[in-house]
């Protein structure tokens, strides 16, 4: 099946391109905070509803 290799190459190109684009956009500049921030998302929603009730 000779078309599988071109597909694999296109996929590779797509992901490498995406990686380059994201790096240049600064997505990987801060590798520390997002992993903490992710944990907070739910809590923040809870507080906002609490404040809304008050």
């Amino acid at each position: 099946m000779p078309f599988l290799i071109p597909i694999a190459l296109i996929m590779a190109a797509f992901f490498i391109g995406g990686f380059i684009w994201m790096t240049k956009k600064g997505q990987y500049d801060d590798l520390e905070t997002p992993r903490h921030r992710m944990l907070l998302e739910d809590n923040i929603k809870v507080t906002i509803t609490k404040e809304g009730e008050l």
Binding site: I5, I16, T23, K24, G26, D29, T33, R37
Partner: protein, 783 residues
Amino acid sequence: MNPCIHCDQDVVTAYFSEDDRTEGPFCCRGCLTVYNVIHAKGLSEYYEIKKNVSFFKKRAPVEIKTAQYSFLDDKDFLKEYSYQSLNNERTMEFYLEGIHCLACLWIIEKLPEFIPGIRSSKLNMSRSVVSIVLKPEGKFSIVAHELENLGYHPHALKMNQDSQDFKTKEERSSLLRIGIAGAAAGNIMLYAVSLYAGAGPEYATYFNFLTVAFAIPVLTYSAFPFYRNSYIALKNKSLSIDVPISLALIMGGVMGVYNMFNGINENYFDSLSALVFLLLMSRYFLKAIQEMGLGTTDLHFFYQGESVLKVDEHDSERFLEIHPKFIQVNDLLKIAPMQIIPADATVVSGETYLNNSLLTGESELQKVGINADVYSGTMNMGSEIIIKVKKINKETRLGQILRSIENGWGHKSKIIDITNLISKYFVGIVFLLSVALFIWSYREGNTKHALEQALTLLIVTCPCALAIATPLTFIRTLSKSAQKGIIIKDDSVIEKLSRVKNVFIDKTGTITQNTLKISSFYVLQNSAVAPHDVIFNLERHSTHPLAVSLKNYIKPLPTKPLMVSDLKEVPGVGVSGIIDNHLYEIRNHSIFEDHKVICTFEAKDTIRLDAKEAIAQLRHHNVNIQILSGDKAEYVSAIAYEAGLEENEYQSGLSPENKSQIIKDSEHSLMIGDGANDAIALSYADTGIAVFGAMDISLRAADVYLSLPGLIPVAELITISKETMKVIYRNLVLSLFYNSISVVLAFTGYISPLTAAIIMPLSSLSVLISTLIGTKKLRILWK
């Protein structure tokens, strides 16, 4: 007792909330204040989040300062420190003291919800920097003030610093190099495995071409740092581990391309690209971990304080709050008690006591009056003074110390680290072996085959396992040490520390705690008002160190507020006041009632709790220990005796220059210190360790910083270094063992891309396991 609920530090004297006595305990009034502010703003969830995070990141108790930050709204200041976007929104960055966990992130990023005028607030936890975007109507002074109230002391950072941009750029490109190497290595593997498994001739040429295509960006773009480092090394007529790596990469590239054009479907690109990927990764992580400790580089402003009050030129009754950066010669500045003097100056009015210990190491306070010279970096311990600025920034004595630190860094004895030393011999041996192999094969007649074999030898003997294992070992040691509160700036420190012979320790603030404590307190006569009530009422507002230690001394005793009339504090003498028609005075280490002594006391600087134990542990390492102090001999000898040191193990009355000279004259030196007076010595020592609570300058001068109180970590660090070096030597032996196998295989003609694809990962894997296992002592210390 439970730890402080705000900062998790141990509580010495407990404070409780005034409305609800069950809320607490707090270690100090600062933490209590912050707790109340957080509650009043409806942010109590902070404490819920904090409960669920690990406790290893303890924060320091909060110290509430009273700066107003009005200078933040100043036009000149905004121009230099903030960035204005097209819709008139301003962005400013602040370094925050006291960021320690998830709960801080939560509260900082909620700022826009309770401070009017903030568009957004984003915290970078690894740098402790918050970036605040302000709507046109907002004010940075309000933001800074609120941050202060929440217990995060803010320092405005200059925006768009070129160095910061450069760093971001470097970081991004190293990530790109890693990503591209990883992706290419993965894809090459796909086709290489097919080739090894025996892909049919209709595919083989096609696959081989694909591996070459993927290898080109790896060998050019990703591997560029190796070529650059090799070039620098060769230009300096030295060799580094990057030279044999570059050699293998270039040879592999040349051979692969050559084979492709000659219809031979064989190359080493699978091994080589995986090698580049692993090498770049290990170096990236080592750098990342080192930079965690380097965070202090931005913070050069710490020693100046964050704002000063300048007397208005047109109206001497008015004071302007300015940033220390904008101080000019001949400015009149008002220096409040407990403030650090930001420039070299002379006193124009007022009288006070200065703590010079940061510059001279003397623990005794210096009395200064009108016309006396005062120096940048000293702290005002008495009452308010007005000073006239004589010298600023680099011209000050402190500035000169800073400059000699920079020189000291240049003079630091450079060790040739073990991997580079090995590579020196390694390159030579491999070259000789390749030539030998070429001649050996040439005798059999086939020039092409002989050349091919010699090239193969150069490729497969690449010391990759060693180059990967060494950074990995250091990463492990650096990160584990950081968890124990030992921040190491540079991995070469570990090798230097493993050989340490002479240990020099500063006294004030290093062996001692640099706080006065009442050592004896004798009541000689009964008095109408009990001595502790006299102290409580007379010293209530005094910030003199002796007054503070007296107040701490009477804290556990019950005291009652009394009416005091005619309360006077005479700087340099003491306090006096009238209670119940009796004149009470506290002066000259005594308390007087109507001019009669009723009580005497002594105060002295106390030794750190673990100093004796730490010195005992240091002795196990067979090192010479010396106290170097700027203080008077009598104080030094008493402390030395208490710390368990002998008669000949201390030197007193040394100037900062004397100290650094002593250190320069000794080999394999380790200096432990804290103040600016130690900074030069720290920078000249082979290894400088700044203890917890050290000043920013010494942090910059030191190679290691202890972020938790105590001296025992120093002794532990020496053990850690020695054990880490053992692991490194073991990895060295392992990796040389694999290289010898490759050489034997090359000489017997059994080497091929397939054998290389087996041996190279195998050797990397075995050094990785060796690194993770560590040694018995390390396993115990890491627990």
